[in-house]
């Protein structure tokens, strides 16, 4: 069954605009009713809707982050009480991880770009694609309803037996996360099948763009790991309401079992968050250095490598939980392999710039930030896997700083890079380059100012999730809060000029960056069925910049 026929067969979803057919209107104007957006089966519109929602969730999570940082300005109570603080950091974590970082790049850019990059007319299961968006939203609604009605104070890791004993509203939020998990699985499944079955003629596995490789590796993790999270969250809900006794030692349960199950998902989940970033960055670095990827196969295989060894590294979260010393050694070594695979990518990205032709545009600025966050964040990750160092660092601000560097730093850099890089493709408009660079600089600086003090706080021994702290930690906390304000300011600037560009921006040409990425081989914004005329065929390897540009791309309608 071809996906295009399934689109056409859906009455009302995409109006068959016979009278417009010869103009091939862009997906943005092909149907303007609210229904044509909400019930669309077009992967591009679904991608745009994902983008809008994840940006909203990012805003909510960011507001919580600022509340937490403001509270930590002084050692004692500052603006909120302890219970509110505990709920705030929990919600910051839950919203940012489950509603922003996991769905952001796959949902928004993966949905939009994957079929374009494969020369396909849509993803393999367009209805499932729409369903996964609505699953995400229903999960979000349930979770946010829980937040408003009581909130939860367990931290996003929901460690038992605290989460099974707390009197706050655990059930709706965990149930929300459970439903969001299904969204993640559905998206992953869709991408795997799309990649396997819908590549245009000529796109062999080793001619796929690296973003596709990264999305494919991510999808594998999503499909394999998320069910475990769903299961464990349901068990916690059951434990909390019905007192099953699976994790409660007073009833014969084992609290450490929860940690094993939880991290079996949540450690690979880190790679669900960063692998798409790696994919975005491979595209960005090739385009703006105008060069083929230095070691294409190494970068592609290292994505699969990370996805694979990512499953065998969860035990490094439990070095001080009482697990055996031997276990600690095994998990330490396996975790280091992730570092090796990441290093391969980093070296190859730098190698890509070698003998290139660098155009220092906004997405490239984010690439620079990304490179630094990945190296420093990644290496502090390996430092954690070094068992003896983990002992003092575990559960201190060093952990907080580390995962913000690698998960948030890298993901945000990639998200912002993707947003700027594909903005003309998605909306057919151009933004102001100067403001782009200014806000990129502010965001990168703000990020460092926020989290470098937190590394030092961790060294000094400040535990995470502290509402009050001994006075000796104050200077660094003030520095961190100041950095967070700078960071927020950077994002506000971005929001302003991007919204401005959306409304008043100049029309972009079909391929403003002169990229050789496959997704640029159609109009910007693309027509509803992605390509005008027959499905394109590809003979060259991706990211190839040898020889003059073939400019047969039609301009946007």
């Amino acid at each position: 069954m071809s996906p295009s026929s399934s689109i056409a067969a859906e009455p009302g979803a995409v109006p068959a605009p016979d009278e417009h057919h010869e103009h091939h209107p862009s997906y943005l104007v092909d149907g303007t009713t609210v229904k044509s957006w909400l019930l669309t089966l077009d992967h591009k519109r679904i991608g745009v809707m994902y983008l809008i929602w994840v940006l909203l969730f990012f805003l909510i999570g960011g507001i919580y982050a600022l509340i937490v940082r403001l509270e930590l300005l002084t050692p004692g109570p500052t603006i909120i009480d302890a219970m509110t603080y505990n709920r705030a950091f929990t919600m910051h974590g839950v919203v940012m991880i489950f509603l922003f970082m996991i769905p952001a790049i796959p949902g928004a850019f993966g949905n939009f770009m994957l079929p374009l990059m494969l020369g396909a007319k849509d993803v393999a299961f367009p209805k499932l694609n729409l369903a996964s968006l609505y699953l995400l939203l229903s999960g979000a609604v349930i979770a946010i309803w829980g937040m408003i009605n009581g909130g939860m104070d367990t931290g996003w890791t929901f460690y038992t037996p605290y989460s099974t004993h707390t009197t706050t509203t655990v059930a709706p939020i965990l149930f929300g996360a459970f439903i969001i998990g299904f969204s993640s699985i559905a998206t992953g499944l869709n991408f795997i099948v799309t990649t396997h079955t819908m590549r245009a003629p000529g796109i062999t596995w080793f001619k796929m763009p690296l973003f596709v490789w990264a999305m494919y590796a991510t999808a594998c993790i999503q499909v394999l790991a998320t069910p475990v999270l769903g299961l464990v969250l349901l068990l916690v809900v059951g434990e909390n309401i019905f007192h099953f006794g699976i994790f409660d030692p007073a009833r014969g349960g084992d609290p450490v079992l929860f940690q094993h199950l939880f991290w079996f998902y949540s450690h690979p989940a880190v790679y669900i968050m960063v692998l798409p970033s790696f994919g975005v960055m491979s595209e960005v670095v090739a385009t703006y250095s105008r060069k083929n990827i230095f070691g294409y196969r190494a970068v592609a295989f290292s994505s699969l490598g990370i996805a694979f060894v990512g499953f065998f590294a969860w035990g490094h979260h439990m070095f001080v939980s009482g697990q055996s010393t031997f276990n600690a050694g095994v998990f330490a070594v396996l975790t280091m392999l992730v570092g090796v695979f990441t290093a391969i990518k980093v070296f190859n990205w730098v190698g890509t710039v070698y003998k290139g032709a660098v155009d220092f545009k906004t997405p490239f600025a984010y690439f620079c930030g990304f490179l630094y966050f990945t190296v420093f964040g990644g290496m502090t990750g390996v430092a954690f896997a070094t068992a003896s160092l983990d002992v003092p660092w575990h559960d201190t601000y060093f952990v907080v700083a580390h995962f913000h560097f690698i998960m948030v730093g890298a993901t945000i850099m990639a998200f912002m890079a993707a947003l700027h890089y594909w903005f003309p493709k998605m909306f057919g408009k151009t933004y102001h380059e100067g403001w782009g660079l200014v806000s990129a600089a502010l965001i990168i600086l703000g990020f460092n100012a926020t989290f470098i003090p937190q590394f030092l706080l961790g060294n000094a021994g400040m535990p995470r999730r502290y509402y009050e702290y001994p006075e000796r930690f104050q200077t660094l906390n003030v520095a961190s809060t100041a950095g967070a304000s700078l960071l927020a300011f950077g994002f506000i600037i971005s929001a302003i000029y991007l919204v401005y560009a959306l409304v008043y921006g100049q029309r972009a040409s079909a391929n403003p960056w002169h990229s050789r990425g496959y997704e640029w081989l159609t109009a910007s914004p693309p027509p509803t069925h992605n390509f005008v005329g027959p499905q394109p065929t590809y003979t060259e390897e991706p990211h190839l910049y040898v020889g003059p540009e073939k400019s047969e791309v039609p301009d946007a309608v």
Binding site: A82, N86, D153, T154, G155, P161, Y162, T166, P249, A250, R251, G252, P255, R290, K291, N292, G295, Y296, A298, F319, V320, S321, G322, A328, G329, V333, M336, V340, A343, N348, V350, G351, V353, G356, A357, F360, Y372, V375, M379, V382, T386, A387, S388, L389, P392, D395, L456, L457, N459, A460, G461, P463, R464, R465, Y466, Y467, H514, V546, P548, E549
Partner: protein, 349 residues
């Protein structure tokens, strides 16, 4: 030099034998990380300038790495990471393995306080007294949720998990007072769950022990009787014997060396036990606790799986007391092997 690095890295004062080992690896790891970030960063920046775009139609060469280059990309980080691993794991084994002559202290986390008790002596809330230059083994458990015992100056940390015992150890190197923090989120007053370790010089320690014998602190602690780890006023082992009799341990376990329905308690602690599945393990606090809470988990060979679980039937202090009681039932040959010497107090009248 160490002083300077510690200041730059905001590391707290070093006050245990483990701290030094951790810090030296810390310098090495952070140094390599900084160096690598700097190297990658400057190479990248150099490339950005050296290879900046000169015209809008510029094309580039097709450059791919040689096998040698890719091999370097893999082996360089791997080499460093493995070096870290080898040193780190060696040190981790060090901190996971208490010396045989350690002094034992039971630690119980409870929302939101730390309780300490010595096998044959007093107990205290939030203040742990230990002698300097003597290894101290901590046996940790929790009464409610997971807590984590962290002394930054000693660079040690261990989770206190309800229903089981975990252990860690330290040897304090200089007298002083050091902060204890809880690092596993445990609810509303998580950040107020602070305590301190008071490290005493040998003379002060002797004086403190004498003071305890008088029972004056004991009496003060009795005011907190319902919160205290050790049931009052008997010694922990005696109390354990009483609890064991009350809950019916002796229906199946003897204390004279003869096996009954279950293995005898005599000489159980510290012995190498052969299990039903052919494996063997050393009987320690963790195993004894597990056998009470989940008897079928590691069944001793030759005995039926008939013991009921005592999960939820024994409180943390009762479990600790039974473990301590079993530890006293030693045959002479075992007594000379693995030993655990707490400070010895005279019974309080």
């Amino acid at each position: 030099m160490n002083e300077l690095l510690n200041n730059i890295l905001f590391l707290p004062e070093r006050a245990s034998t483990f701290a030094e080992r951790v810090d030296h690896l810390h310098y090495f790891v952070v140094g390599v990380t900084m160096l690598m970030s700097f190297a990658v960063g400057t190479t990248a920046i150099f490339f950005f300038f050296r290879y900046r775009r000169r015209s809008d139609t510029q094309t580039t060469e097709y450059v791919v790495p040689s096998v040698k280059t890719e091999f370097l990309f893999v082996s360089l980080p791997l080499l460093f990471f493995l070096t870290w691993f080898v040193i780190g794991f060696r040190d981790f084994v060090f901190v996971s393995t208490p010396p045989k002559d350690s002094m034992d202290v039971y630690v119980m986390g409870k929302q939101w306080m730390w309780k300490f008790s010595y096998p044959e002596g007093p107990n205290g809330v939030n203040v742990l007294h230990v002698p300097a230059n003597r290894p101290v083994r901590l046996l940790l458990t929790s009464r409610d949720v997971i807590h984590s015992f962290f002394v930054p100056s000693f660079r040690i940390k261990m989770d206190a998990v309800p229903g089981r015992y975990t252990q860690t150890w330290f040897e304090a190197t200089k007298p002083g007072t050091y902060q204890i923090l809880c690092t596993e989120y445990c609810g509303l007053s998580h950040s107020k769950m602070l305590g301190e370790v008071v490290v005493l010089s040998p003379e002060e320690w002797d004086a403190w022990v004498k003071e305890q014998r008088k029972g004056s602190l004991q009496n003060r602690q009795d005011a907190l009787a319902d919160l205290s780890l050790v049931p009052q006023p008997a010694r922990m082992a005696e109390q354990g014997q009483k609890v064991a009799a009350e809950v019916g341990c002796f229906k199946c376990h003897t204390v004279n060396g003869e096996p009954h329905i279950g293995p005898t308690f005599l000489g159980m602690y510290g012995k190498q036990e052969t299990l039903q599945d052919g494996l063997s393990l050393r009987v320690d606090e963790a195993y004894i606790t597990q056998s009470m809470m989940d008897p079928g988990a590691h069944l001793a060979a030759g005995f039926p799986n008939v013991m009921p679980t005592f999960q939820g039937k024994l409180t943390g202090p009762q479990t600790a007391a039974i473990v301590e009681y079993i530890k006293t039932l030693r045959t002479p040959d075992i007594r000379t092997g693995a030993s655990s010497q707490g400070p010895v107090y005279e019974p309080i009248q």
